[in-house]
């Protein structure tokens, strides 16, 4: 019997029929798949974002809710839209906010660089390890996620406080206790510790795909190992570096828990400022403006990096 492919008309396929019926209504399968996440994002992201943006354009007032309405209804059916830009103006005029933003970006950037410097060799080593070890090492990277983030950060205080593990250990050698808690140092430790896996995993997935014959070809053409790394491995791992950097830098900017638990009063980060405005000052409009401005601070680097990534991926 010949087995030439023929269009299968004999078997009834309910899904196919449904698809045909939908396509007659102008609904394609692709639109259906995108529909669900689109609804989800609209309800739980876009709408709340619009609400926050609306609040940022109002002013603080006592009562419930603690901000003014944007729309007021006057006599004779007039509707008045009142937009207050004062919150945004305040962000630029009050050095507290500007400093908090700059400081957040600085801390996030330095922590990201440290995470990259630590994570790259780790990812490289895991990618080059034998099959048996690779899974074990990856497991060790992922393992901390099995414990609550909050608990782990809190546990770091046990290490770094005045009579904590590190100082007790140093004390055995007669070294004076170091002050680590409530410093920027502790915040760096906390951020790097927490976000290191987010740096390692994308770098690992990139480096593990690196074609070993390219490294051999480079060596064959006279490049020593360091030159091979700089000319071949590093440029080819740029997409992994970008992905890891984004995954660390973006959450680190808005980090609230780590500076609150580990940082001192001097560690000014935008997450804490936002918390204070919202809960201590009950200034919802100001807090909303801080949040919107932070969103812009975060979205701009994402867009820049995505452009850089699409430029390198195009090949």
């Amino acid at each position: 019997m010949s087995r030439t492919p023929e269009p299968s008309t004999s078997v009834p396929r309910p899904l196919k029929l449904a698809e045909q019926a939908l396509s007659r209504l102008g609904v394609s399968g692709r639109a259906l798949i995108i529909f669900a996440p689109a609804v989800w994002l609209t309800i739980f992201f876009l709408v709340p974002l619009a609400v926050v943006f609306g609040i940022s354009l109002s002013t603080k007032q006592f009562g419930r809710p603690p901000y003014s309405n944007l729309l007021t209804f006057g006599e004779a059916g007039t509707v008045q839209l009142t937009l207050h830009l004062s919150n945004f103006v305040k962000l630029f005029s009050d050095s507290l906010y500007v400093n908090a933003y700059i400081n957040s970006i600085k801390i996030a950037a330095i922590a990201t660089l440290i995470a990259l410097a630590l994570g790259y060799p780790m990812a490289y080593f895991i990618a080059r390890a034998s099959d048996r070890w690779r899974n074990v090492l990856l497991m060790l990277v992922i393992l901390p996620f099995w414990t609550s983030f909050l608990l782990r950060v809190y546990a770091l205080t046990g290490f770094m406080r005045g009579n904590g593990v590190i100082n007790n250990f140093l004390g055995l050698f007669g070294i004076e206790p170091l002050i680590m808690m409530q410093t920027d140092f502790a915040v760096y430790v906390g951020i790097v510790y927490t976000y290191l896996p987010f740096m390692i995993l994308p770098l690992y997935t990139n480096l593990v795909k690196l074609d070993g014959t390219l490294l051999e070809a480079s060596a064959d053409l006279g490049a020593r190992p360091l030159r091979t790394f700089l000319a071949i491995t590093l440029p080819l791992s740029v997409p992994g570096i970008i992905a890891g950097t984004m995954l660390v830098f973006i959450p680190a900017i808005g980090e609230f828990v780590i500076p609150s638990l580990l940082g001192g009063p001097g560690t000014l980060m935008i997450g804490r400022v936002l918390w204070d405005e919202f809960f201590s000052n009950t200034n919802w409009p100001r807090a909303a403006a801080v949040a919107i401005a932070m969103l812009i601070v975060v979205v701009v680097p994402i867009m820049l990096m995505q452009r850089a990534q699409s430029a390198t991926v195009e090949r």
Binding site: L214, E216, D220, L221, G222
Partner: protein, 380 residues
């Protein structure tokens, strides 16, 4: 085994016992966790040769090549290139370049940057690098493609970039791992000749690894046939084809009809073999190093057997069979003939006439005959 006549102006240094080999592989063994990929291989390759390492997968040919490039270290033995011991020299310090089977072009660099990569590792002025790159691009006929990235090139173009990159540093020895393996048949044949031409113009010594015996035959000055980590035979293509030294080589290179038999006459100028499988006495017109009554094999190539309807004159080297199948390949036809012993014999015949009505057809009883020097006597 008979010797071929020596030609007057012999340019083949391997026939000159005083010639100094350029590459000398001495008793090299490479083991991967107790399994020997290459075992006790010794090989001498001369300046300007195009040497083919031919073997099936797992024969150790690629491992041997990787040891020459320096990517693998021999478990035992030494490798000398141009009189210097290279066994412990890292790949980046060897005067050797390699063209990889996958080409291994750097995807983030364009064609020029790929070719210039090796030159930039030496302190060469950038103007000279540019000049050399242009020369190489012209050599491989890619002058227009310098600014393209590898993914914008066809398979054949990538192959030529890989060749240009490997030649850029003017290595004394170029290693090519299945250089034509990824190309389609037509392109492969064209590229073969280009490769030989480039090799002859530049005078670089080439060592080519291939599993394709046709490729090896048409490219090589000499072929080293590898089997299970060992060199089975080294020789010029005609030697390997016409005078295989073992049943493995006879079967691996081209196709051969193999008959088992017993020596009945062992004279200095001829021997006779009785082979029930062949259904006749086999007369070999030269002396062979064997003993009377020794069991051995006799191999004959399909194109060296003559098919006739009438019995040719003579006593030996004539047997009968029935045409079982005919494969028409255009230039030749392949006949499968079943001998009276049940042995199937493959015979090829050139189709020199168009629409030959006299051609032998299916189910005909035919005589098979051959000359006294047509076959090879194999004792291993």
């Amino acid at each position: 085994m008979s010797k071929q006549p020596l030609i007057a102006a012999d340019t083949r240094p391997w026939r000159d016992p005083a010639a100094k080999p350029f590459v000398r592989i001495n008793n090299v063994t490479k083991k991967f966790a107790d399994v020997a990929a290459v075992s006790d291989v010794s090989l001498e390759i001369y300046q300007g040769e195009l040497f083919c390492l031919l073997g099936g997968s797992g024969s150790g040919k690629s491992t041997l090549l990787r040891m020459l490039a320096g990517f693998e270290t021999p478990t035992a033995g030494t490798i000398e290139i141009d009189g210097q011991d290279m066994t412990a020299v890292p790949p980046y310090s060897r005067p050797v370049n390699m063209m990889f089977q996958s080409y291994a072009l750097f995807p983030h660099m364009n064609v020029e940057q790929n070719i210039a990569y090796g030159l930039k590792r030496e302190n060469i002025a950038s103007t000279e690098v540019g000049q050399r790159v242009n020369e190489l691009l012209a050599l491989v006929k890619l002058a227009e493609y310098g600014k393209r990235k590898p993914h914008q090139l066809s398979g054949g173009q990538r192959q030529r970039v890989a060749l240009a990159r490997a030649l850029a540093k003017r290595p004394k020895l170029l290693l090519l791992d299945e250089p034509l393996g990824a190309l389609d048949k037509k392109l492969r044949e064209e590229t073969q000749f280009e490769l030989v031409k480039i090799q002859e113009t530049l005078g670089v010594t080439f060592i080519v690894v291939t599993h394709d015996q046709e490729e090896a035959m048409s490219l090589a000055t000499r072929i080293g046939v590898m089997n299970q980590g060992e060199i089975a035979q080294i020789g010029e293509p005609t030697d390997i084809y016409e005078f295989p030294n073992s049943r493995f080589v006879a079967n691996f290179i081209g196709s051969a009809n193999m008959f088992e038999g017993v020596v009945t006459e062992d004279e200095s100028d001829h021997i006779m073999i009785d082979s029930p499988e062949a259904g006749c006495a086999i007369y070999v017109d030269h002396g062979v190093d064997c003993a009377p009554a020794q069991r051995l094999w006799w191999a004959i190539r399909p194109e060296k057997i003559l098919l006739t309807r009438d019995r040719p004159d003579g006593v030996a080297n004539i047997t009968r069979g029935l045409v079982d199948d005919i494969g028409y390949l255009g230039d030749t036809s392949v006949y499968q003939v079943v001998l009276d012993s049940g042995k199937k014999v493959r015979v090829t015949k050139a189709n020199t006439m168009r629409g030959d009505l006299e051609a032998i057809k299916w189910d005909e009883r035919v005589y098979l005959s051959w000359a006294g020097n047509a076959g090879s006597v194999l004792t291993a």
